[in-house]
């Protein structure tokens, strides 16, 4: 295109801008704990906001509880990331590797993730036992509740990672390679 552009020659966009999905078919029963923590976090932080700005008298315990819920959200939410393989990772190497070498690498990654979370779960048990006498500052709940939930989340992650490892081991190399590209972003 050259010369003086005509005024009004840009056609209006014929696009569907409504891109909001309400498909919830991939949500499983074991996603409920994460959803519960998330809703609790929303309510508590919302409550803090409300008491500070509307009632001018913020509730002291909300900040501490919100931080604990954030820890739980991180670890329990991470279980979903492990299950769906959506933890952030760099996948550019897979674009340059010959296809047959992808499967061994995928097996290595899955095995490492499984091993790590199993070990992290054991470490979390040790931490929970050492701190079992500690109480939260603002309300009388032992801090161990947080640590034991982290223990559970770590073992859940190890379990889902192990299932993925099994699936990778059983799949033909081509399928493993295809899956890596499917989730690469």
């Amino acid at each position: 295109m050259n010369g003086d552009p005509g005024i009004g020659d840009a056609r209006p966009a014929a696009v569907d801008l409504e891109n909001m999905s309400d498909d919830i078919s991939d949500i499983r029963l074991h996603d409920i704990p994460a959803l519960t923590v998330f809703v609790a976090l929303l309510i508590i932080v919302g409550l803090q906001f409300f008491t500070r700005y509307v009632l001018n008298d913020s509730l002291g315990w909300t900040e501490e509880i919100a931080r604990y819920l954030l820890i739980l959200l991180g670890f329990i939410g991470s279980v979903i990331c492990v299950r769906k393989d959506t933890h952030i990772s760099l996948k550019f190497l897979y674009r340059y590797l010959p296809k047959p070498s992808i499967k061994p690498l995928a097996v290595f990654v899955d095995a490492l993730v499984t091993g790590f979370f199993a070990y992290a779960g054991l470490l979390a048990i040790e931490l929970a036992e050492r701190t079992s006498a500690q109480m939260m500052v603002s309300i009388r709940i032992p801090k161990g509740v947080i640590y034991y939930t982290v223990v559970g989340a770590c073992f859940a992650m190890a379990l889902f990672a192990a299932l993925r490892l099994l699936r990778t081991l059983r799949s033909p190399p081509d399928l493993v390679a295809a899956r890596k590209f499917e989730t690469s972003s």
Partner: protein, 425 residues
């Protein structure tokens, strides 16, 4: 010896495609074992890393961004931007940039902007007769404005890792973000004249008024969020809560475009994105703890300061390192690895942490537009149905205006620091 293992192992695991959080944690664990420290410090540091009030802003900003992507809001803002600047030469290029600026005031991630708004922008530009390369290039470049203009997830992470004020970082991003928009608009105007890109019908005040009325309520979001943060009325976390509350109000009460299934879907997406980021922050905490205990930053800083004591030359070296890392690493991961090393060096050289923050994030945003790990390019290659290599070539020319802005901000710190010093100090 331990540190060598830490860095080499981290590099190998990252390249092998092990999730970033686990790469950081496993290589740190290897160091802990070699150094003979109790292994339990690993999980203890990871948990403490998330135990931070400012980090609460992350799930809320992500949720607000998802909610703002609801039917109705995107359309209205795009229509308003089109009535506002669509009549210029290369009008849709300007619309693209303006819409990105408005959305930058609502959401905090570049990759999400490229996926959501980018989809709309590229389709609209193609329909109007623009070539694909130009459409992809400008969409990629303008999506990087998002994390510079507040709110910004990368700036929250930077603030937490560098113990810098997130409020000040947010205020500091506003002017650089607008500068990026202006520089890209200059580029569009230049190209549009030369290549004769189409434009919409003449400027029509009536249409501008109608679309403005339609977009009025969504347009208040950036004003509430950015205004609240920049004037100091809201902390970043509170601004995030306000954004969520307002988005819910629009979706449930005003436009009635949300139902319970949308809310569950959006919550699950938010949990996933937040958890992925939180785990990286958790694992980076132990990594940063090891680096700090070994005074890695001090040693490297001394070496750099021996090389030069010119502050600007030092800044250039730091930016070259950040750009290089940014080409290979995802933004959040790059911040968590870089900040524990860079911020003590910068402090020693007298570089303001807020200034450093804006420079690092802007640098990493440019890294999102370069191969081999240009996340925005991967997303757009998917959205536009164009091969990755072509996206790389299409985006290349747009790096020039962004690099010019980067250098301007590096050499004129006041561009970033004036607003926060006027408000906070």
């Amino acid at each position: 010896m331990g540190l060598m293992v830490l860095f080499v192992l981290l590099g190998i695991l990252l390249v092998a495609g092990v999730p970033v959080a686990i790469s950081l944690a496993v290589s740190s664990l290897a160091y802990i074992v070699i150094a003979g420290l109790p292994e339990v410090v690993l999980i203890h540091n990871m948990i403490n890393g998330i135990d931070s009030f400012p980090l609460l802003a992350i799930p809320f900003f992500i949720l607000a961004g998802h909610l703002m992507n609801t039917a109705g809001i995107t359309t209205r803002i795009f229509a308003f931007a089109r009535a506002f600047v669509g009549w210029m030469h290369g009008g849709l290029g300007h619309v693209n940039i303006s819409a990105s600026v408005i959305f930058a005031g609502m959401s905090g991630a570049a990759v999400a902007d490229a996926g959501g708004l980018g989809n709309v922008e590229i389709k609209a530009m193609r329909d109007a007769g623009y070539d694909t390369d130009f459409s992809v290039g400008i969409t990629a470049a303008s999506s990087t404005i998002g994390p510079i203009i507040p709110p910004s997830l990368p700036l929250v992470i930077f603030g937490v890792m560098a113990s810098a004020s997130i409020g000040e970082l947010f205020a500091a991003g506003l002017i650089p973000g607008l500068l990026m928009a202006v520089s890209l608009m200059v580029m569009v105007a230049f190209n549009a004249r030369r290549r004769g890109y189409p434009r919409d019908s003449m400027f029509d005040p009536c249409r501008l008024w109608t679309t403005f009325k339609d977009a009025f309520l969504p347009l208040l979001t950036p004003i509430i969020v950015v205004g609240g943060i920049v004037t100091g009325a809201f902390t970043p976390t509170e601004a995030a809560v306000a954004a969520v509350a307002y988005a819910l109000f629009l979706g449930l009460a005003v436009y009635r475009s949300l139902n319970w299934r949308h809310l569950v879907r959006v919550s699950m997406d938010t949990i996933e994105t937040s958890a992925a980021i939180l785990m990286i922050v958790a694992a980076a905490t132990i990594f940063a703890w090891i680096l700090t205990a070994n005074q890695v930053a001090t040693l490297l800083g001394d070496a750099l300061l021996d090389l030069t004591d010119n502050r600007y030359f030092l800044l250039l070296i730091i930016m070259a390192i950040v750009l290089l890392i940014g080409m290979f690493m995802e933004t959040i991961a790059a911040i968590t690895v870089l900040v524990p090393v860079l911020s003590p060096i910068a402090a020693k050289a007298g570089i303001d942490p807020v200034h450093l923050g804006i420079l690092v994030i802007l640098n990493l945003m440019i890294g999102l537009l370069t191969p081999p790990v240009g996340m925005v390019l991967y997303v757009l290659s998917d959205v536009a149905g164009v091969p990755f290599e072509r996206c790389v070539r299409a985006t290349m020319p747009f790096l020039a205006p962004l690099l010019v802005v980067l250098l301007l901000i590096a050499f004129f710190p006041q561009l970033a620091l004036w607003l926060p010093s006027a408000v906070y100090r």
